[in-house]
Every structure is written in structure tokens, then in C-alpha cells.
């Protein structure tokens, strides 16, 4: 497929998704909470309220209000958090590094462990190691994230007292106001349990996925042909079999990144990790509408970007969808 056409289509799609999300965000804003109460409190007369409503444009038709909302949103103005009394976008973005680092470390754990484990379980399905892997993985899938988190806290924090049970620890200020916990030992000691619990549900899923795909690919004619050509085992397994499992794994992986971000809300809640998910749940409890909307829009944006990248990688990895240049 033509790269330009592909990118354009993705862009159109991304814009549509973001528009839908913005409509949802706006509907929440116009139905949840009363901005007047936040501004002036209860003591103002009804006449004054109406005047204020007119001034703020709250009596305008739905679409007028929506396009005003959209115009502001495009300029980065998603309203002011009722609780923090700061621009909602700023509040959310302050928490972004914490969530990003948590997801990053969990993803690295998933990839580095799932690939070798999945390949091993596919190559030696009858071995004890593979059986233990498969048994633990089905147990792993059956334990919800928040229970893993609670279990880790009760063992390593409450029971053994080895690792802290909440917060992010010491962070270091980086350029562009990015606070990283990855440069201090204390930061890592706080990060390790949340990252393990976040990875705990995806890891077995990916091990099983890679194993299943790999076993299927090992049964193909082209792998048999590779054996018949006298190719060394390592190359048959990795180059012939594993490379063909990449496509489905990337596809499923792309979908699962969405789930991973959703699970940050659970993990961050249990560990009181100062990230976007924890903030979002607090915002829900406080009915901090601008913050809820800001979170939804930011998360929507992340999904759209991640999915586009995944699709792009898929297109580049799959020779069937090759870009023009080579002979057809």
C-alpha cells in the first residue's frame, strides 16, 4: 500500500476518533457539575446567575458551545481544575512522567521475559520447564492486577518490609520539567512492585500468545522446507519460525497497550502512585469535571498515537504490505 495514502487515512481516522472523544468530553462538561457554583458559590441571586450564564455563553445552542469548547481544546485549554485551581492540562501533564515510566518499565519486563519464555515453551512443549510456565501463566492470567498488587504489598512491604508500599520516592528533575524516578535507587525501589503488578497480567498473556503462534509457525511447510535445506536449528527457530510470529504478536500487542494503560488506574490506586490514573480516580471522587475531561482526551490521544505507530510497524514488518519501489 502507498505510504502517503496509509498515513493520510490514519490521520483522518485519528481526527475522527479525537472528534468523537471531544464530543464525549464536552457532553460530560455540559452535564456534570455546575460551573457557576464553582465560580460564585450559592449566595448569588437567580437573576445574576442568568446574566452570568449568558456572559459565559452557557445559554448558547449545543453546537455553538461545543465548537467553543473544541476551539479552546485545540489551543490546549481544557478548563481549570476545580480542586487544584490550575489549568487541567497542566495538572495532567505534571503526572504524565510517573505513568509513562511505570508503563515503560512494565513493557520492557513483558517483552524481555515473554519472548524467550514463549519461544522456549513452543520448542519444548513436553518439557517440565514449559509445563511449569504454562501452569503459572494460566494462574497469572486468573489473578486480577489489583490482587497481585495487594499480594505484593502484603508480602514485600507489610510482611518483609523490603520495599515501600506507596509513592514514587525520590525523583530527579530533567529538562522540560520531566521528573524521573529512574535515576535514583529510591525511585527504583518504589517502582519495582507497581511495575511487576502491571506486567503480571500481560506477561502470561504474551507468553501464551507467542507460544501458540510459534507452534503454529513451526508446523508450516516453509519451516519444514528450511529443515530439508539443512539450515541450523537456531536459524530455523529464530529466522523462519519466530519472524513469522511477529505479525500477530504486534497486532495483539497494539491492542494490549490500551489495556495496559487502563490497568495503570488500578495499579496506581493500590500503590498510590502519583500518576495520571491515580489522579483520574481522585478527580472522579471529587467530581473535578475539567480534570476528568482532560484525562479522557489525553488518554484518547495516547491511544491514537500508539495505534498509528503499531499499524506503521506492522506495515513495515509485513512484506505483503510493502511500499512502492520494489518490482511487483
Amino acid at each position: 500500500m502507498h505510504l502517503l495514502a496509509f498515513l493520510l487515512r490514519r490521520l483522518v481516522q485519528a481526527v475522527i476518533v479525537m472528534l468523537v472523544i471531544s464530543v464525549i468530553g464536552f457532553s460530560i462538561q455540559s452535564n456534570l457539575g455546575d460551573p457557576l457554583r464553582e465560580l460564585v458559590g450559592q449566595s448569588v441571586s437567580e437573576a445574576e446567575r442568568q446574566l452570568l450564564r449568558n456572559q459565559l455563553g452557557l445559554n448558547d445552542p449545543f453546537w455553538t458551545q461545543y465548537f467553543r469548547f473544541l476551539g479552546n481544546a485545540v489551543q490546549g485549554d481544557l478548563g481549570t481544575s476545580y480542586f487544584f485551581k490550575k489549568p487541567a492540562l497542566e495538572v495532567i501533564l505534571d503526572k504524565f512522567p510517573a505513568t509513562f515510566e511505570l508503563v515503560l518499565v512494565a513493557s520492557v519486563m513483558i517483552v524481555t521475559l515473554a519472548v524467550p519464555a514463549g519461544i522456549y515453551a513452543a520448542l519444548k512443549p513436553e518439557s517440565w520447564g514449559a509445563r511449569i510456565l504454562m501452569t503459572t501463566s494460566i494462574v497469572g492470567i486468573s489473578v486480577p492486577v489489583f490482587l497481585t498488587a495487594i499480594l505484593l504489598i502484603s508480602v514485600f512491604s507489610v510482611g518483609l518490609g523490603w520495599l515501600p508500599s506507596f509513592g514514587r520516592g525520590d525523583t530527579v528533575e530533567m529538562p522540560w520539567g520531566w521528573d524521573t524516578g529512574l535515576l535514583t535507587l529510591d525511585g527504583w525501589s518504589h517502582l519495582i512492585l507497581p511495575a511487576i503488578s502491571l506486567a503480571s497480567i500481560m506477561l502470561p498473556l504474551f507468553i501464551r500468545l507467542i507460544r501458540a503462534e510459534m507452534m503454529e509457525s513451526l508446523r508450516t511447510e516453509y519451516v519444514r522446507f528450511a529443515w530439508a535445506k539443512g539450515i541450523a536449528s537456531r536459524r530455523v527457530w529464530l529466522t523462519h519460525a519466530f519472524r513469522n510470529t511477529l505479525l500477530p504478536v504486534i497486532t495483539v500487542g497494539g491492542v494490549q497497550i490500551g489495556t495496559l494503560i487502563a490497568y495503570t488506574i488500578l495499579t496506581e490506586t493500590v500503590f498510590q502512585w502519583p500518576g495520571m490514573g491515580f489522579l483520574f480516580l481522585e478527580a472522579i471522587n471529587r467530581v473535578d469535571t475539567p480534570l476528568i475531561i482532560a484525562y479522557i482526551i489525553i488518554v484518547g490521544l495516547i491511544f491514537v498515537i500508539v495505534n498509528t505507530i503499531v499499524d506503521l510497524i506492522y506495515t513495515l514488518v509485513n512484506p505483503m504490505m510493502k511500499l512502492p519501489g520494489a518490482a511487483a
Binding site: R219, T220, E221, Y222, R224, F225, A226, W227, A228, K229, G230, I231, A232, S233, R235, T239, H240, R243, N244, L246, L247, V317, N318, P319, M320, K322, A326, A327, A328
Partner: protein, 317 residues
């Protein structure tokens, strides 16, 4: 002593035997056709030669001797030096045989480098040379294509080129033209014939088509339910088949029948490996069956110019 000797070879899947004692041999430069209907075990026999039977199948008896070495008991690492180097294979469906995510060049170069110490550039040069040999047009450009960018006929030419990379002594071709159209089949078979003749290569051709064997192989083995039931010179068998099954197969061909009438047919169908009748596996379909056929399995015995596994071969010829 032939180049390749297969003796009493048995392949089992659990309790069932897919090959029930198969023996044949191949001399240098000789072409042998193994013919049978689906489930007869002909592909199994081909893959058993280089010990490449898919799970849970196992070689459970007999031997495969190639150039004085036992292949059936050989360690996998040593087998690797035979496979693709001295004995090459061609599979049925060229689309499935070539790895979709690797270019043709990558799939050729890796084969050369697995058997010969050589750099990428030299391997690539040889690969292009072989593509040219099998008449792939503009081989220097085609080598960087992915399999899906070629037509079915070209793909099978590429597979043949891969099999030729290390100048093997034997090519085992498992239904190499079944997935192709008849005009492409003629192209591919003509190419294979020319290569075998000019390079003195042996060929084991697995097919269900007697006519294809008739046009390409000096010797013929007919398989039925995991056994070879008739073996010998192709012309001798096709002109005077002695086993009732071979007779039936040839007789059922439209070209052997008068136009518009009914074809001679064999009744029933071949039994699966899990419900073989006692005695000769063909007896329930056979018009010549006698009591002995129902009790004892006939062995392959020389009768006239060929070997036949039938108690009544003498009378039938």
C-alpha cells in the same frame, strides 16, 4: 549397492503404521516415480528418507542407507549436512514452501552458507546463477523479491533453484506440480528432466499421476495402503501391469477407455491406516481375490520384468 537403499522401512503414528515395510533403491542419475492415491504413504516414504517426518510419526523399522551411511539412525546435526546439500527436496505448494517474510535471496543464501563456507557476495552470485539456470527472467532483480511477488510457476522454479544450490546427488520432489496448471506443469517437469539429465542427478518423484511418471521416470513404484505393491521399469508396468490395483488405476484413465462410454472403475476406496483389512489390503476391492488374499499379506516378489505383491500376479500378467 545403490546410491540410496531403502529397506523394509516402517513409519508409525502411535499404534498405526503409515508405512508397512517399504523397500526401494535409487542409482546415481536414476529417476524413480512413486505413485499412489492420497493416504497411500507415498509422501511419508519421501520424507522418511531424510528423516523429516512430522510429529507424532516415527521411523519404527527398516533402514535408509545413502552412500554407505545410515540416515535413519543418524544424529540430527549430521543429517543437516546431508539435507539440502547431497539430498534436496521440492515440496508440493511453492506458495507454502517459501517463507513469506524472507526475500528469495535470503532463502537461497542461507542454504549455501549452511553447507559451504562462503561470504554473502559469493553466495548471492551463485544464487543468481542458479535462478538463471532454471530460467527465471532477470534473476539479478528477482532475487530481492518476496515470494508473493512471483507467479506460481516462477515460485516453483525458485524452489528448484534452491534445491540445486549445492549440486545435490538426489532430488526428492513431493508432488511438485500438483498445485500448478497443466501448462506450467509441463514447463516445470521439462526443466526438471533437463536438469537431471545434464547434471546426472537422481530423482524421486512422488505423484498421484501415472501419466506424469510415464513421461519422466525410468522406474516406477506403485503404493497402496502403506506398501509398495508393484515396482519395476515404468514402461513394463504401464504396458503390462500385474497387480490388480495397478491394472485398475491404468484402466480407469479416460485415455485408456473408449469415448463416451463408461470408464473401467475400481469399486470402493482405499482403507485408512487405522482400519486395514487382514491379508492383502486391496482384497476387498479386488476381482481376483482368493482365500489366501484374505488371510496372508503377499510380499513383493519378482514376476516377469517387475516385482509384484500379489498371489495371482503370474496369472494376471
Amino acid at each position: 549397492m545403490s546410491l540410496l537403499d531403502v529397506t523394509d522401512l516402517e513409519v508409525s503414528f502411535g499404534p498405526h503404521r503409515a508405512l508397512r515395510g517399504v523397500s526401494f533403491s535409487l542409482d546415481k542419475g536414476e529417476r524413480l516415480g512413486i505413485v499412489g492415491e492420497s493416504g497411500a504413504g507415498k509422501s511419508m516414504a519421501a520424507f522418511a528418507i531424510i528423516n523429516l517426518i512430522s510429529d507424532p510419526g516415527r521411523i519404527t523399522g527398516g533402514s535408509v542407507t545413502f552412500d554407505g551411511q545410515r540416515l535413519d539412525t543418524m544424529a540430527t546435526e549430521d543429517l543437516r549436512t546431508i539435507r539440502g546439500d547431497r539430498i534436496a527436496m521440492i515440496f508440493q505448494d511453492p506458495m507454502m514452501t517459501l517463507n513469506p517474510v524472507l526475500t528469495i535471496g535470503e532463502q537461497m543464501i542461507e542454504t549455501l552458507q549452511a553447507h559451504r563456507p562462503m561470504g554473502k557476495a559469493e553466495a548471492r552470485r551463485i544464487a543468481i546463477e542458479k535462478l538463471d539456470l532454471v530460467a527465471v527472467p532477470s534473476p539479478a532483480a528477482r532475487i530481492d523479491n518476496y515470494p508473493h511477488e512471483l507467479s506460481g510457476g516462477l515460485r516453483q522454479r525458485v524452489v528448484i533453484a534452491i534445491s540445486l544450490l549445492c549440486d545435490p546427488e538426489i532430488i526428492i520432489a513431493d508432488e511438485p506440480t500438483t498445485a500448478l496448471d497443466v501448462t506450467i506443469q509441463a514447463e516445470i517437469m521439462a526443466l526438471l528432466m533437463r536438469l537431471c539429465e545434464t547434471r546426472d542427478m537422481g530423482l524421486i518423484l512422488i505423484t498421484h499421476d501415472l501419466a506424469v511418471v510415464s513421461e519422466s521416470c525410468q522406474r516406477l513404484a506403485v503404493m497402496y495402503a502403506g506398501k509398495i505393491i508393484e515396482q519395476g521399469a515404468t514402461d513394463a508396468i504401464l504396458t503390462a501391469p500385474r497387480h490388480p490395483y495397478t491394472r485398475g488405476l491404468i484402466g480407469a484413465l479416460p485415455q485408456m477407455n473408449s469415448r463416451g462410454g463408461l470408464l473401467k472403475q475400481i469399486r470402493g476406496s482405499m482403507p485408512g491406516i487405522d482400519d486395514l483389512p487382514p491379508g492383502c489390503a486391496f482384497h476387498p476391492r479386488c476381482d481376483f481375490a482368493i482365500d489366501a488374499c484374505r488371510a496372508t499379506i503377499p510380499s513383493l516378489e519378482p514376476v516377469g520384468a517387475q516385482s509384484v505383491a500379489c498371489f495371482r500376479a503370474e496369472e494376471i500378467g
